[in-house]
Amino acid sequence: MPEIKASSVEPGKKAKISNTGILFIVLVVLFALFSYVGRPFFFSTLNLVPMLNNLSFIGIIAAVLTMVMVSGDIDFSIGGNIGLTACLVALLLSKGLPGWLVVIIALCGGAIMGAFNGFLATVIGVNSIIATIGTMFIWRGIGYTLSNGESMLAMNPVIDYIGRGFLFKVIPFPIVIFIVVFVITYVIMNLSKWGRRIYAIGTNPMASYLSGINVKKVKFVGFLLCGITASLGGLILTSLSAVGMPQHGQGLELVIISGIVLGGTALGGGKGQILGTLAGILILSVLYNFLTIMNVYYFYIQIVQGSVLVLVVATYEIRQSRALKRV
């Protein structure tokens, strides 16, 4: 009988330094490099704090979408959700509703959108890629219809605070939301029973179902949370821009999914880390910020971001196949 060792290694992680670890090393190296090359602009609170602010709404959605993706699904409708939420918020404010009520309604709207996606994916049993491409059109189309295509100022003390307020007068509120959401999702995914179910379902839904896990419920809740978070993201973006417009969030799904994938989440489900997602979106964001500081044209930035995505994921694969070769 061989000795059974309990190691602290998480499921799916085998190498000595995890991929997430490598990613954070890459991040630190890039950060140091950029601080030097991009001096004096890059490494300054004047630059980094707004960067994090602008990242916050993408980050929180990425964190929750990671949960959905680990469970083997995907949600393409997040961008549409943001657009619809932004228009809804501006419209309701223009009707004179109090800010707190608008926030509640917006989050409920997100919950409804998420629940609808979840309904399609679990109850009806539609492939979530195509279901959420469909709802992406629906949400954004409703946003356009609500606003009649116009952007609307969305100013109100409560809404302003969400994206532009400060906690204790120093910490920007979006960054607070960002940190809170990441901590919560980290706890759920890595320490909780719910997270275990998510990983199990992503790995083998059939076996999970036959082990008494309510697969549909777990998946449904994932979509629900994703909807709520996307509308929270919509609220933040509305506040950051002081404007509700149906274009808000356009194309963000690919940005967010790139970040998640860069963070090591597998598309088929079962594999992925919240910290990886954090590192992934930070890297993409830092890259954009630095290259823009360096006056690089957008299409070069695109080339760099695409290459980084391929290179980093290539590193994962090479590491993994090395591990296998040693086999």
């Binding site: 469909g134 709802t135 930035i301 695109q302 080339i303 391929v310 994921v313």
Partner: protein, 326 residues
């Protein structure tokens, strides 16, 4: 030999695909649109619909081959954009490259990029969605190298390539799509290569164990996809009369929607061209139908989304019995 209990026919298997649902739905759509506007069911309109989905149809041919083998290609829009802008620039007076050579160069570009995708995916082993998400961005970035050029297409042959009609009725592009679909369908059904695609898409390990050269075949599928991107790129500049670096942006999502709607499994191993063709008709007719119905501009996206969700939901419900338990 005893008589088998279960007898199978091709028709029964056809009934299990989403195609019947799609056909049913399309008939309903035709009826609604025809009632709404007498101009819907006309030659003139269908010429337009067919021409409008030509690029998607050509791209669908390629992505379908890739997807059958379990792959994915998100870079199709970018590749066709690259082919388009480069070909258009080469056609400018200052370069004056002859037409046949344009075709050769276009195809070489498309196939080479496909080859690169294929090599990264198989040799490094990166997930195809991620690889092509990366190359999608990279190639689009490269397109903008020619942003300051402003090529318009005067080449009569290229102009006609994506725009002419036979007997003023059947668009050339329709012929291309039908020919491509038939050739590919035949390849899929009647060649070892085609059958191997299904094996690889169904179970890659199994395919390797069966001695099928999985990597080589996968690379070929990306080259094929690249080839169709070349054709699509040429069609784009032909139909639009000019070259621009942004052509083909977002095509991947549209094409993906079409092929998945047409019954191609995202994991691979399942799909048929007939279904994809009907899906093309459906997606192609939705936008047109909304113009016919005078749906307000801002509502059109909603209608399109609702229709999409409806189609796939009906299909899912119809196949309830095959539905997994979870």
């Amino acid at each position: 030999m005893a008589k088998p209990e279960k007898q199978y026919s091709g028709f029964k298997n056809f009934l299990r695909t989403p195609t019947p649902t799609l056909i049913g739905l399309y008939i309903v759509m035709i009826i609604i649109f025809t009632i709404a506007d007498k101009n819907f069911l006309t030659v003139q309109n269908f010429r337009g619909i067919f021409n409008n989905f030509a690029v998607f149809g050509v791209l669908a041919s390629g992505i379908m081959v890739v997807m059958l083998a379990g792959g994915f290609d998100l870079s199709i829009g970018s590749i066709s954009g690259l082919v388009g802008i480069v070909s258009a620039v080469l056609m400018m007076d200052k370069f004056g490259v002859p037409t046949p050579l344009i075709f050769v160069i276009a195809i070489v570009i498309g196939c080479s990029v496909g080859l690169i995708n294929g090599l990264i995916i198989t040799k490094i082993g990166i997930n195809p969605i991620i690889t092509t998400l990366g190359t999608l961005a990279i190639i689009r970035g490269v397109c903008y190298f020619w942003a300051n050029q402003n090529p318009r297409i005067y080449n009569v042959f290229i102009q006609g390539f994506g725009r002419k009609f036979i007997a003023d009725i059947v668009p050339y592009t329709t012929i291309y799509i039908i020919v491509f679909f038939i050739i590919l369908a035949l390849i899929l059904k009647f060649t070892r290569f085609g059958r191997n695609l299904f094996t690889i898409g169904g179970n890659e390990t199994l395919a390797r164990l069966a001695g099928i050269p999985v990597d080589r075949i996968k690379i070929i599928t990306y080259v094929i996809s690249g080839f169709f991107c070349s054709i699509a790129g040429l069609l784009l500049i032909s139909q639009l009369g000019s070259g621009r670096p942004e052509y083909g942006t977002g095509a991947e999502l549209e094409v993906l929607t079409i092929v998945v709607l047409g019954g191609v499994a995202v994991g691979g191993g399942k799909g048929n061209f007939f279904g994809v063709f009907i899906a093309l008709l459906i997606i192609g007719s939705i936008a047109n139908g909304m113009v016919m119905l005078d749906v307000p501009i801002y509502l059109r996206q909603v209608v399109k989304g609702v229709l999409l969700v409806l189609v796939i939901s009906i299909d899912a419900l119809r196949n309830r019995r095959n539905l997994q338990l979870y």
